[in-house]
Structure formats: C-alpha cells, structure tokens
C-alpha cells in the first residue's frame, strides 16, 4: 500500500514547477526592468519622447487650442454641440476644470516628461559606444523636457516640477509657480546647449533659442540676450527671402528653421492635423477638422497694407470664410498632413533679441530686418508709432500668426486681459491668464494641489 501511494505521487513531483514557471515577463512589449541598458535603448527612448511632441494632446492639436485659439487670432466656429462645444469654451474663457482637453494635455505632457526624466536619471550608468551620442541624447532629453515645461508654465502656471524618475505611485507632489519652472528649465537648457551637437534633429542653437524665449517669459530680458546672440553668431541661420517659402512640406528644414517637430504623411500614423483644422471644407477634400480654427476679423485687420505676409498667411478668396494658408498640404488627408510644426525659427530669435534688448536702435534694426522680408519699410521708431512694446507685439502678431506664439505674447506683454476683453466683449475679470488645473490632478492629491485662483 505504501509503495502504491509512493508510486502515485511520483507524477506530482514532475509538475512541482519551480518559481520560474510563474515568473513570466512580457514577450513583445519592452518593459522598464530590462530597458535603459545600452545606446539602442536610449535611442528608442529619445525617439519615444520626440514622438510625444507629435501627439494630439501636445503640438498636433491641443497646443494650438491653448496657445493660439485662446488668443485673438483664431476662433472656434461656435454654435456647435458636443466636442466642438468644449472648444468653444476654451475659446471664450468659459472652460471648466473638468474639460477633457486640458486633462488630456496635462497627462500626456507629463508622460513625455517622465520619459525624459528616466533618460536623464539613467543615461550616465548605461553602456554607450559613443560618448557623443550619450551627450546628444541627454541634451535632447533636457531640451524636450524644457520645451514641454515652458508650455506647462504658460498654460497652467502652477504645476508640479517632476524631474526624477517615478518608480512607485506614492510620489509627493509639490506645486510650483511658473517662475520656478522657468528658473529650472533655464538651467537645464544651458546644460542642453553644452551637450547638444551643432547639427542634428535638435541642435545646441535650438537649446539656445529656447533658452532666450524662456528668459523672456521669466522677465529676465537681459539674460536672454546672450543665448539669442549665440544663435545669431553661429551664422547657421538666416531669414528665408520670401515669407511664403517658409510654409508647406517642400520647404521644411529651410535656413530659417531652428527646431521642427516632424510629421510625415502616408497613413502610418505620423501625419499632422493642421491642414484639416485650418482648412475649410471644400479645399482638398478635408476640412473643418477635429478642432476647427477660424480666422478672426481682428487678425485680418492687423496687417498693414502691402504686408506680403498677409497673402501667405490668410486666404480671403471667399470673404465670408477666410482661412489660414500656412498649413496647406496636398493631397489633403484627414489627420495625415505632411506638414511639420516649426516651433523655433530665426525670425523669432531676431524679435526675441529685440525684446531682450528693449527699445534701442539695435532692437528696431532687428524688427526692421523682419519687416524688410515682408516687403514693408522700417518701423516708425518715434513715439508717434506707439510704444516699443506695442510695435514689437504688433510685429510679432503678424509675423507669427497661427504659430502658437500669440497667447504667450499677450501674457508676457501684460495685455492679455485688455486685449481679450475687447476682442470677446467680456469683462476683464472673465479673462483668465492661466487655464484651470485639471480637476483630476487636484482630486488625486487634494492636499498638495490647489486650483488656480481665477478658477476657484
């Protein structure tokens, strides 16, 4: 009997599987446990971060809503229901902390930032064949993180400054204001400028140009001079002679371009949405888009007579339905445009430097350099032409129309409330300078996160 029972249990011994039997890792998905080891991993990781800049929640759609449509150049059509109604709310300062666009952007941006945090935290310990590549990727990670934090500071203002890798959900969240963010990314960008190469997808000049912009945003205009000057002194960039040649897929990577987010068409999920959102139905087969952008009468009226930028920017063939020409692509396919997003171009460096220098002949010269390309004469340097700020803001408005600069400009020049109040016919008190912090971000850390005062 005993023997029998022993015989019986022998098969059981065979299946007494060791721990390995249930220690199974992903087979077709990379996972953090075995990633961040070598150069290839970091190439993948940095491209993952760059991909995050292409997403609908960042540069493809939502930054257009927050940085441009919010201001007085673009407008949502209005009268719509459903999704379009929430766009109208963003346009008219009636948006709520529960809005889907702000939370989508907030979450997506921090996801990309977390990717760059991991790169920065782990890259020094990884195996690299080339130290130059290590430096480049590290610099790129700093640059991407800074670019996104700049947008977070402009859009939301008071957000957590997460710079470390997250390995557990129990993270202490500390809200900081925009100044703290600008201070941090100014440091990061200097580091990035030192690490980055002179050529490549992100160059040291891109870091310097962005650093200049960040200093201006932070009110440290004098600090902005040096990095902007370094871009100019690099002699790598110049204005494209004809403003109209800045636009369209064929003109990408031109002499004026400092940093572009790349999109390609071909239905591989890498196309951009600018064409559909800025182009009316009937042009090229798509139109209206998921986040339709109309041209306001304001911006049409802002152009001086003879400004060559007008025709390159706005099509008024149908006076009732003007539309933005900058993002035409052909053939036009829904959400699959070939157009890159040009985030930094030389004209901005020139006007940023003018701003950093403050009213001076040097500054007027820089403005005139941009006006000259537009076929306009020099700016009126006398007080009769308005204040320096007015003239600079006006120039920026028409030069960078629909390039996501306007909302930050209005805020930086301190005129956001007055301009938007006049534009929308609403009281200034209703014009909020910061977007609401997404309700979800507050709900999950109620003790550490507070809503922006204007939205309380």
């Amino acid at each position: 009997m005993k023997k029998l029972i022993l015989t019986l249990f022998i098969p059981l011994l065979f299946v007494s599987c060791g721990d390995d039997f249930t220690n199974l890792g992903p087979l077709t998905e990379r996972n953090v446990n075995n990633f961040y080891k070598n150069e290839t991993d970091f190439q993948l990781a940095i491209r993952g971060a760059l991909d995050g800049l292409q997403s609908r929640e960042t540069f493809d759609v939502n930054f257009v809503l927050f940085m441009e449509m919010r201001a007085d150049n673009g407008a949502n059509g209005g009268g719509a229901t459903g999704l379009a109604a929430s766009l109208e709310q963003l346009d008219t300062f009636t948006d709520l902390p529960s809005g889907e666009e702000i939370s989508a952007t907030y979450n997506a941006v921090y996801n990309v930032i977390a990717g760059t945090n991991n790169i920065i935290a782990r890259i020094d310990d990884a195996t690299f064949d080339s130290e130059a590549v290590r430096d480049q990727i590290k610099g790129e990670a700093y640059f991407i993180r800074s670019l996104l934090y700049y947008h977070m500071a402009v859009i939301f203002g008071n957000v957590p400054l997460q710079l470390d890798e997250v390995t557990t959900p129990d993270v202490e969240v500390t809200q900081v204001d925009a100044t703290a963010i600008y201070n941090q990314i100014a440091i990061d960008l200097e580091m990035a400028e030192n690490l980055l190469p002179e050529t490549g997808r992100i160059t040291k000049w891109a870091a310097a140009a962005l650093l200049g912009r960040v200093h201006l945003a932070n009110g440290n205009n004098s600090d902005a001079v040096a990095p902007l000057q370094r871009v100019i002194d690099s002699m790598q960039f110049d204005l494209v002679p004809d403003y109209a040649d800045l636009w369209g897929a064929a003109n990408e990577g031109n002499i004026e371009s400092i940093f572009e987010i790349e999109f390609i068409t071909g239905n591989v999920g890498e196309g951009s949405s600018y064409t559909d959102n800025y182009t009316p139905l009937g042009f090229g087969g798509v139109g209206g888009g998921g986040a339709p952008q109309n041209v306001t009468d304001d911006i049409i009226g802002a152009y001086e007579a003879g400004d060559e930028r007008f025709d390159a920017t706005i099509d008024t063939t149908d006076p009732a339905n003007p539309w933005v020409r900058k993002f035409i692509s052909s053939p036009a396919v829904s959400s699959d445009g070939d157009n890159n997003w040009v985030e930094l171009r030389y004209a901005e460096v020139l006007l940023n430097l003018a701003e950093a220098l403050g009213e001076s002949d040097a500054a007027y010269d820089l403005i005139d350099e941009v006006r000259d390309r537009a076929g306009l004469g020099g700016v009126d340097r006398t007080p009769a032409g308005g204040t320096f700020d007015e003239k600079l803001l006006q120039e920026r408005r028409v030069e960078f129309a629909f390039e996501n600069k306007r909302w930050a400009d209005l805020k930086r020049f301190g005129v956001a409330k007055s301009v938007m109040s006049a534009h929308l016919g609403i009281p200034e008190s209703q014009v909020t300078l910061l977007f609401p912090i997404p309700q979800g971000a507050i709900d999950v850390s109620p003790d550490n996160m507070t809503q922006n005062p204007e939205h309380q």
């Binding site: 029998l4 029972i5 019986l8 098969p11 059981l12 299946v15 599987c17 039997f21 249930t22 220690n23 199974l24 890792g25 992903p26 087979l27 077709t28 998905e29 990379r30 996972n31 953090v32 991993d41 993948l44 990781a45 491209r47 993952g48 971060a49 760059l50 991909d51 009268g79 109604a85 709520l96 529960s98 889907e100 979450n107 921090y110 996801n111 990309v112 930032i113 977390a114 990717g115 945090n117 997460q162 997250v166 959900p169 993270v171 969240v173 997808r201 990577g253 790349e262 390609i264 239905n267 591989v268 999920g269 890498e270 087969g285 997404p438 979800g440 709900d443 999950v444 109620p446 996160m449």
Partner: protein, 1198 residues
C-alpha cells in the same frame, strides 16, 4: 457492484478454461456443446445463448428478414442471415456440415425461425455469442441439457399513477439479452440461469434493478418517475456529489432545456433558468457572446465573468485573441464573437453552476465570479443508440422601435427651426422679419440652423422606413447526429453538428461545424482511461451594426435610425443612394452614411478553429482510493479580415477611404492535473471523502495584425489588394500552479460538512505577491433525517445549509504588475524610426482580488418531491479590488492597477419546481427569482468617486454607496409650461439665474432639478440616475404533457434595470437634425398643447437655449421587460405504429423571443455597448437587434 464483477469475472474465466480444455482434449461428449469456432477467437468466447431458448429475448433474432437461396452452401446461407441481422458469425471451416446444400425461401420471417429451419436436419443448432456472433453448437441431447433457462414475465407500471408503461427496456445486466415491454406494459424474457440482475430502463424514470431468483412470472414492476432531484448527481469541482449531500450553493440544468433552442451557444439558453445567474444578450448579432454574471459583479477593473470549466478543464474566453477594428474607437468596438459557441449545446449533458465561494473556492483565484461546469455526454453501456436532430427556422426582428414617418419628421423639423429662429429674434440676435413663414424659408437669414431643408419644404412624397430597408427575415438550420453506447469496458459518444444562422441584417451570419468524440475504456478492473475531444470550426460574417452613425465604420442600425424618411435608399438606376441622402439635406442637418452602403461595402469575417478536450487515466489503488491524472488542452485560432471597400462613402465624404485589416491569433493552453480521491464509510455512519490535487496550467497567446489602405478597386478585398500601412505582433502568456484539497464528512447522512482549500500561484501578479490561499467551509443539516421531522411527514427533504469561503479573481492583463513601454515611431527626414514611450507603471505588489462570501440556504422538497427547490441568501464582499487608481498625473501616468477598494453584493434567490398535475395530463412549473444589490463600500486611497467617460462623455459614476457604474448626471424635474415658471425660478436663485447650464430656457424646455437645494442648477447638482443592475430577475417555465403531445412555455423577465439610451442624445434631443423616435410626436408644442409631459419642445439650438440635451435622466430609460422567451410544442410520433422505424421520434415547433413587453423605446432593453467594461454598463448607441425565431424540428433516436 463488487460481488457482481467478481461473479462475472469468475464466469468469464470459467468459460475460457472450458475453451482451453476443449482444444486440449477435443472430446465433445464431455461438455455440453462444442464451439464451432475458429481457433483464433475461441479463447475469447466465453458465453453463448442458444437461439431456441433466447429467440424472444435477443432483439436481432426477432428482426424480420427475407432470404431466397436455391441449393446454396449452408455457410453462405448463414453468412447471409448474419449480414441481414447485423450479427457476426464465427465457425470452424473444417466442419462438414457447412458445405451441405440447402434451399431457403422466406419473406419477412424472424431470423430465429430461419436459423432453426436451416439447421433442422443437422446435429447442430445456432447460438449467439456474447460478442454477438452466430455460432453453431452441437444439438443438446436430453441428458446433456443441464442448462436451466429462466423465464420471467410481468407488467410494468408508473409507481405513482399506475399507468401501464410501454417500450420499457428490460435486459439482463451486462448482456445483450433484452426485450421491450409492449403497449400494455407487458414483457416476457428468457434469461440464462446464471443471470443475476434484471434491469428496467425507461427515460423519465429511475432505472430499476431486480435480482433474478429463478423463474418469476406475473411480476408487478413499478417504476418511479425520475424526479427525485436530490438523488441526482451534481458535478462539483474535481468530482461529483449526490445532490442531497451538497452543502454549497450549486444550481444545475439538464440537457433537455438546452436542446431545440436556436442558439449558437449554451449560455443563451441559460437565460432566466437559474436563480442568481444573470444572462444578458446585449446584441442580437449571430454568434455574439451573451454576458453572464453570477450573483452580481464584484469587480471594477477585472472581469466579472464566471470561470468556465468544460469537462474538467478551465477554459479561457480568450477575448484578447480577437483583434479590434483599428479604425474604430475603443468604446464603439463590436462585441466579441462568442468563445463558447465552439461547444454544441446538443452535446451537453448537464451544466452545474457553483454560485457561492464554498463551492467555487476549489477553483481558488478564479472562482470569485462563480464557476460554470459543463459536462458533455458520455456513452452509456448497454444503450447503443443513434440520434439525429435537425431544425430549420426563420427569424425576423423583434421589438422594432417606432420612428417618425416623413410627415411627422417634416412637422418636427419645421417646429425645431422655427422655435430656434423665433427665439433668436426675441433675443435680439436676428432682426424681426415680416416675411417669416413657418412652412417655408422665405425671408429667413442664411443661417443653417434656421433653415428648413429644401426637401422638407417641398416634400416629394418619399417616405422610406429605413429600418424595414435594412432588416430582413433570415433563415437558419441546424443538424446534429450522434452515436453513443458501449460495453462493460468501453463507452463512446461521437457527434457531428452543423449550424448555419443568418442574421436579420443581410450578410451577417454565423456557421459552425463541430465534432466530438468522448470515449472511455477500462483497461483492467482498476485502470481506466478516457478522452474527450471537441473540434469546432466556425465562421462569423459580421457587419458593423453595433456602432453609432459616426463610428468608423458607422453602425448600420444607427445610420438607419437617423436617416430621414424623405430620402430614398436607392438611386433611380438601382444603385445605393450615397450622394443625395441624409448627408445632403442641408439646413444644418447632420450627415450619415446610407446604411445599405455600410452593409454592402464593409465586411468583416472572423474564422475560429478551436480544438479542446482532455485525456485522462484513473487508477483504483484500492477500493477507497482513486488516483486520476488528466491532461487538458485548448488550441484556439482566430483569423479575421476586415474590409472597407472603395465604393463606401463615409457620411458626406465624396471620396472613399478604403481600409483593410487582417489578423491572426493563436492561443494554446495546457493543463496537467493530478488528483487523489479517498472515499470510505466508517461504522456505517461516518462517511468520509478526501480529495487532494496538484495542477499546473499555462496559456500562450500570439496575435498579429496587418493593415492596408490605398485600394483602387474591390477586386481583392483584403490587405493583399492595397498598400500595407501597418502591422504588429503581440505575444503574451500566463501560468498558474495550484494545490487543492477537499474534505467531505457526513454523519448518518444527516450532518454534512465540506472543507476546501486551494493555493494558487499566478504569473499575472507582482513577483512579491504571486501566491494566494483560498479556504472555504460549508455545513448542512438534513432535518428530514431527524426523527421529529420524519414524523411530520410534510417534507421529504429539508436541508439547511450555511457556507463561508474565499475566492479570488485574476482576470487582469498578463503583465499588469510590470512597467511597460509602448512602441512608437518618429520620423527623421521622412524616414520612420522606432521609439519607446512609457506605457504603464507597474505595481510589484499587485495581487488577487479576494471575495469573501457567505451563503445561507435551504433545499426543500414536499409531498414526495411534487414540490421542490431552494432558497438562498448571500452576501459577498470583494476586497483588494483590482482597481485602476488614479495617481498624480505629474508622475507621467494616469492610473496604476493596484489592490484597493471594496464592493458588496448581496441578494436573495428562490427557486421552486412544482409538478402541478401528474398522470395522463402532466403539468409542471419551474420558477426562479433572484435579487442582487450591488454597492461600492470603499474606493481609492481617499474614497474619491470614479467618473468614467463612456461612448459619449462622462455619464457613469462609481462611488461609495452606489452600484458600480451607476448613471450620473442632471435630473429632469418637469417641463416649464410658461415664462412665469422660469422667472419664478430665476427670481429665487441667488445670482438671478436658476439654471447655469441653460443660457435662455423658454416654456417647453426642461426644468432641471436643483438637487442640492442651493437655488441654482450647476455641476454640483449631478447625481446618480439609476443603474444597469436590475432589482430582480426571474424566469417561469411551464411544461405540459398529454399523451404524445408536449408544450413548453418559458417566460423570463428583468425588473428595475435602467438603460443609458445614448441614441436619445440624437433621436430625442428636439434638434431635428435627422429622424427621431415617434414618441416625440407627443412633445411640448405650447402651453395649451403640452404633449404627454415627457418630451420638451423642438429647438434646433437647444444647446444655447434650454440645453435640454445635457447629460441627464432624460437619456436614462427603464429597461425592465418581460419576454416570452420560448414556446415549444412537440409531438412524439407513435413509432410502434410506424414499423418501429426509430426508437423515438419527436417533431416540434418552437418560437424564441416571441414577444418582449417593455417600455424601452429602443430595440433591446438589455443592450450593453461596452459589455467588457464594468464601469460603463448599459449604453445603447445602436446595437444589433434581437430576432424572433420560429423553427420546425425533428429529433430521432434509433
């Protein structure tokens, strides 16, 4: 049993010895007969039955055959007889007598008589061996004839009614000797003297065995109807139990209710049949999967479905092997094709549902949702039979909603535009216009939302019923053939089936071939082996019918619902109208594709091949201990192909966007299970059972996908015809290692106890937390075994049960505990390079979700089982919920799956079966009723509610104190009848504005409720509006039998369920952008014509006026219903009057979903668009309607 086996063995070996002896000594005079057999098989022949004696008792000898031979050799004549009687033949060819010439001429004569005739002049007579061969034996002389035959005769009656029972099988146990009782219930049989037991077998009655004690005549046999439910065997995990000994909560259903219902899967047939088992048919698509929840859903993130164990092997639904349509939004994906339609309902013997943790805990980490144990049919020794069943049927839509016709829609549309325009004039946004005409566009400004579509101003008389256009009647057919039977040592059940079900939308269909082989063989007295094999090939032609009209692809049903009746489905040339339809009405109407274009130009085909089963062996170590080893396997393969053709135009697009997707998926699962079972009764009173086991299971899945576009024509309607644009591969696996044990103890059959424990180690959980332990116990007291109850004589069974147990849920992703990375791409100078972004944050502590379940119940039977049933109360608390908890987004992640939160389900279940009338006219009723209350007790670290975006924004809340996934929004109070009411509200509001979400409400608009009483309506006034969880569900089944007729009527219903009818966002919104539910004809028109008070005024711009279409109780509608689910009328053909062409033959007519009585205005009151997401249940955003099916069928048994 054991003495009998011994005896048989003894007899068998005795005959063997005789055979050896004969061959050794060759002296026939020493024995009773000489076997005239070839030497090769003589050793195996161990008993035989002389024809003369047994001619009335062996069915083959009674078969009527015709034979006509002149001067033929005797052996040829014998062979001919053997062939015609389907008997074998064995003889020694050296026998002279075989070559003698005989002449025979018989017409339809009994085989026995012919055999006797041809051997009349010889010294031989015929006999039949136990292996059914004709033998020749030496004719016995009077002195040798020591064999004593026993004659038995008698009459058989129903024990209760005294009715005579014809066609009862009467046979000697373990032999082929048997007769059938005649129309008067009489039988006569001659049996060998060594026969021990006579068996009486009749369907619907308990098998009866009587010992043979010698000649027995005029036996009065009484057979008990087989309704004594408590003596049934119940399948429990890893074994079976007598119903009377079960102390957990187990519901069972037998094969007969599953048969003859036109469903592709047994799960549909379970609807309404079992208390506490909630079966929902969210869609009527052929081959789609119903959803089953047992005792409510305890889980939020993980699946709430039960574990399916088919013939002892836990099988996965493998829904991740079915790939989503890449162009479609996640929340609009069609429901998955049913994983268990691979199992033919006709092959099922019984289904047992383990409802409480005490019974389900033996399945440990997978038992929390209950366990459905399916047992397929086995061959029955001594009952060799062939069954054929087939039916054909026709289906049409049931519960079609009432939509507006052209005239109604025109009036409604004008009303909406006029109200909008007039209000804008009043608001000063438009100049007053003296030319205004409510029926034309004269003088109206060119604002789309003011304009009446031209085709409404000048209606050309077209009045299309779009639902009639897309819905048609459809056919279905089903065939099933099985052969089963066996011998003492071997049993077999073989079957083949074919089902072809067309959907009520042309082009959708489901067809299935399936094949089954269940066999077992006793190698020795102690070692037994067996195998179960199921192979199924199914083909699912699917259409996009479940999505909204703006899905990608758009839904056929929803596109038909919204389509205006004033447009024609076809162009004049007969082609599908895609350029002059709803999309081209203008005047601010919403665009939609022609549903016929969706139907004809978009296709999806899913092919599923599934092979599963097991191979097992058991060894009886001694009379108390059995060891069993089982290997189970499941190979599940899907191929699917989606194609959106070049002719299809999406809404108002004028150029097509062809797209194709092709995917293949393969899942392989293996299981090895070893169990030891010990059973012993001590001192007659203490019955002890012990089970211990060790199992390992592993599943590997591979899925790949290719997408293409750029098609120039439809010549090659799959990815091969276009430009490949993308693809991907996903592989994943899980593994589970478990140990389990169960102890059953019964004292005098009175006090019963069961204790189980299982430990599971699963790969899905964090490396630190992979092992879980799941104990349970249950106790029972059969009060009817107590003397004081016996004397009462009311109950013949009254068992009180109580149980407590712990079960788990591991239904989460395979790698949720590990931080994963996404694969992405980024272009550089136009060339794509791969990249990785952060996808999820893993929790290495992740572990089971654990359910603590308490059950108290009573099983009762009254009046000799005339009435029986169960009553149960249960309470289940699910803790450590696998919950996607929101984390600070600044971590880079939205949520992380972790163990937190608590959900409670409690409810009451009642079932009763009553045999209302017995005797010639029989009527019995089954009734079951169950309630379930689902409540969240704890959530997240701070208890924050979970608001989840479903298919149309945030409309669901999961919060403490409410049911999981409750509907959430504003509450409609009533309709403002006049401006004074609106002004009164505003005057009372603190800021002078009552409704902050309505810019300018007018009479006819909804007044929304100020829920928190602060004087204004704002976001704080959103509240719970109802839930998909029903208050109770019930089923009533009535069965009537009279002579050869039978009638079954099955009614099933749900009370207190609400549906989130998202179609009313469009079809009831008052904007008149497209067609509408006809109930809006009763809308508010004016204070004097306020309609029925439920529907607000028409207003094209309600969003900027009264905002009637906000997320509110207006879209939450009552989904209670009563369904006349199945009515079946059958007739058993009198086979004895039809030359006994079959053993049994039944023809029937059956109607399923005959009628649904409900207030729900859509098609299907239990629609559930996202059935896989428990946080957003009950959404109707266009679903494939249910069908009413009438079928005609026949079941034959040979």
């Amino acid at each position: 049993m054991r003495p009998l086996v011994n005896k048989m063995l003894r007899v068998a070996s005795c005959y063997c010895l005789i055979g050896v002896f004969l061959f050794q000594f060759g002296n026939p005079s020493n024995v009773r007969a000489q076997l005239i057999a070839s030497s090769s098989n003589s050793m195996q022949v161990n008993s035989y039955y002389p024809v003369q004696i047994y001619k009335n008792s062996i069915p083959e000898l009674q078969s009527l055959i015709s034979i006509n031979k002149e001067n033929a050799l005797l052996k040829d004549v014998l062979k001919e007889i053997a062939k015609k009687t389907k008997l074998g033949i064995a003889y020694n060819s050296e026998l002279q007598v075989l070559n003698e010439k005989v002449s025979v001429k018989f017409e339809k004569t009994r085989a026995a008589d012919i055999l006797e005739y041809v051997l009349l002049d010889t010294e031989f007579e015929a006999a039949i061996s136990s292996t059914r061969e004709i033998l020749l034996i030496k004719r016995k002389t009077a002195t040798d004839n020591k064999i004593v035959e026993i004659d038995i005769s008698g009459v058989i009656r129903d024990a209760e009614t005294g009715e005579l029972l014809p066609t009862v099988s009467v046979f000697v146990k373990g032999t082929s000797i048997g007769v059938t009782s005649n129309m008067d219930g009489e039988f006569e049989i001659t049996v060998p003297d060594d026969s021990e037991i006579l068996v009486f077998r009749f369907v619907g009655y308990k098998e009866l065995e009587i010992p043979i004690t010698g000649n027995m005549t005029n036996l009065q046999i009484e057979m008990e109807p087989d309704l004594l439910i408590f003596e049934d065997v119940v399948v429990v995990g890893y074994g079976t139990q007598q119903r009377e000994e079960v102390t957990g909560s187990v519901a069972s259903i037998s094969t007969e209710v599953l048969e003859n219902i036109p469903v592709s899967s047994f799960e549909n047939a379970l609807q309404g049949r079992l208390a506490g088992v909630n079966v929902v048919e969210p869609t009527g698509e052929p081959g789609a999967s119903p959803e089953i929840t047992i005792r409510g859903g305890g889980s939020i993130t993980a699946s709430n479905g039960p574990l399916y164990v088919i013939d002892g092997v836990p099988l996965s639904r493998n829904s991740d092997l079915q790939v989503d349509i890449q162009s479609q939004r996640g929340s609009f994906q069609a429901p998955k094709s049913n994983a268990f339609s691979s199992l033919n309902p006709n092959d099922i013997e019984s289904i047992d549902v383990l409802k409480d943790a005490a019974s389900a805990a033996i399945y440990g980490s997978r038992g929390a949702g209950g366990v459905i144990l399916v047992t397929t049919k086995k061959g029955n020794p001594d009952l060799n039979r062939v069954t054929v069943s087939m039916y054909g049927g026709a289906s049409s839509v049931v519960n079609k909603p009432d939509m507006m016709n052209a005239e109604e829609l025109i009036a409604y549309t004008k009303d909406a535009r006029n109200n909008n325009y007039l209000q804008e004039i009043e608001r000063g946004n438009q100049p007053d216009n003296p030319q205004y005409d409510p029926n034309t566009n004269a003088g109206r400004p060119d604002v789309a939302n003011f304009l009446i579509p031209e085709q409404y101003v000048n209606w050309n008389g077209t009045d299309t019923d779009w639902l009639d256009v897309v819905l048609s009647s459809s056919a279905q057919q089903n065939y099933h053939v099985s052969a089963s039977g066996g011998t003492d040592k071997a049993t077999y059940f073989l079957s083949a089936g074919y089902l072809d079900q067309e959907g009520i939308i042309d082009g959708s269909s489901f067809s299935r071939y399936n094949f089954r082989a269940n066999v077992s063989y006793d190698i020795t007295d102690r070692i037994k082996v067996g195998s179960v094999t199921n192979a199924a090939l199914s083909n699912h032609d699917r259409l996009p019918a479940n999505a909204p009209y703006f899905g990608q692809p758009p839904g056929i049903i929803y596109s038909a619902l919204v389509h205006s009746p004033v447009v024609s489905p076809y162009n004049e040339d007969g082609t599908i109208n895609q350029l002059n339809n709803q999309s081209y009405l203008g005047g601010g109407t919403t665009t939609a594709s022609n549903p016929l274009a969706i139907r004809d130009f978009i296709s999806e085909e899913i092919k599923n091949n599934r092979l599963y089963g097991n191979i097992y062996g058991t060894v009886d170590i001694n009379e108390n201990i059995t060891f069993k080893s089982l290997i189970g396997y499941d190979v599940d393969n899907y191929q699917s192909s989606f194609y959106r053709g070049t002719k299809f135009l999406y809404r108002n697009q004028t150029s097509p966007q062809p797209f194709a997707q092709s995917s293949g998926a393969n899942g392989f699962n293996w299981l090895w299970e070893n169990t030891v079972n010990f059973q012993k009764t001590y001192q007659d009173d203490h019955k002890l059972g012990f089970l211990a086991g060790y199992t390992a299971q592993k599943q590997t899945n591979e899925v790949n996908l290719v997408t293409a576009n750029g098609f120039v024509d439809d010549q090659i309607p799959n990815v091969a015809g276009g430009i490949i644009t993308g693809g991907g591969v996903n592989e994943s696996e899980w593994a589970l290692v478990s140990m389990l044990a169960r102890l059953n103890y019964g004292y005098k059959g009175k006090y019963l106890g069961t204790f189980t424990i299982r430990s599971d180690r699963a790969s899905r959980f964090g490396s630190d937390n992979q092992t879980g332990i799941f104990p349970s116990f249950s106790l029972g007291w059969r009060t009817t075994e107590e003397e004081f109850m016996k004397s009462l004589d009311i109950f013949n069974e009254l068992k009180v049960r109580a149980s407590y147990g712990v079960a788990g849920n591991f239904e989460i992703g395979n790698y949720s505990s590990i931080s994963l990375l996404n694969s992405v791409n980024y272009p550089e100078n136009g060339v794509l390079f791969p990249g990785s972004s952060l996808a999820t944050l893993g929790d290495s502590e992740l572990t089971w979700e654990t359910s603590y379940q308490t059950n108290i119940g009573v099983d009762y039977a009254l009046l000799s089982d005339r009435i029986y049933g169960s009553i149960d109360y249960y309470s289940t608390i699910t803790k450590d919920l696998l919950l996607s908890v929101n984390v600070p987004p600044s971590t880079g992640f939205g949520s992380v799956l972790t163990n937190i939160g608590e959900v409670e389900n409690k409810g009451f279940e009642f079932s009763i079966t009553s045999r209302n009338m017995v005797g010639k006219f029989q009527w019995s009723t089954d009734f079951n009723f169950s309630t379930n209350e689902n409540k969240v007790r704890k959530l997240g670290p701070n208890g924050d509610p979970i608001l989840v975006s479903g298919a149309a924004g945030v409309r669901h809340i999961t919060q403490i104190g409410s049911a999981v996934g409750s509907y959430y929004g504003y509450v409609v109070d009533r309709i403002y009848q006049n401006q004074a009411e609106i002004d009164a509200d505003n005057n009372n509001a603190p800021g002078g504005d009552y409704d902050l979400l309505a810019a300018d409400p007018r009479p006819g608009d909804f007044r929304f409720k100020d829920v928190n009483g602060d004087g204004v309506v704002n976001a704080d006034d959103r509240t719970v509006l109802g839930s998909y969880q029903p208050d109770f569900i019930y089923g009533i089944s009535n069965r009537f039998n009279y002579k050869n007729f039978d009638l079954r009527v099955f009614i099933q219903g749900v009370v207190g369920r609400e549906v989130l009818n998202l179609t009313s966002r469009h079809l009831l919104n008052g904007e008149a952008n497209f067609n509408a539910y006809a109930v809006l004809n009763d809308r508010w028109i004016s204070e004097n014509d306020p309609g029925n008070g439920k529907y607000p005024r028409a207003d094209r711009s309600t969003g900027t006026h009264g905002n009637n279409n906000r997320v509110s109780s207006y879209q939450v509608q009552d989904g209670s219903y009563v369904s006349l689910k199945n009515v079946q009328f059958g007739y058993n053909l009198p086979v004895e009057k039809l030359n006994n062409f079959a053993r049994k033959a039944r023809i029937y007519v059956s109607a399923t979903n005959l009628a649904i009585f409900t207030d729900y205005i859509g098609f299907n009151p239990e629609v559930n668009l996202q059935s896989s997401n428990s946080l957003t249940p009950g959404e109707d955003y266009g679903a494939y309607p249910l069908a009413r099916t009438v079928q005609l069928g026949i079941n034959l048994e040979f």
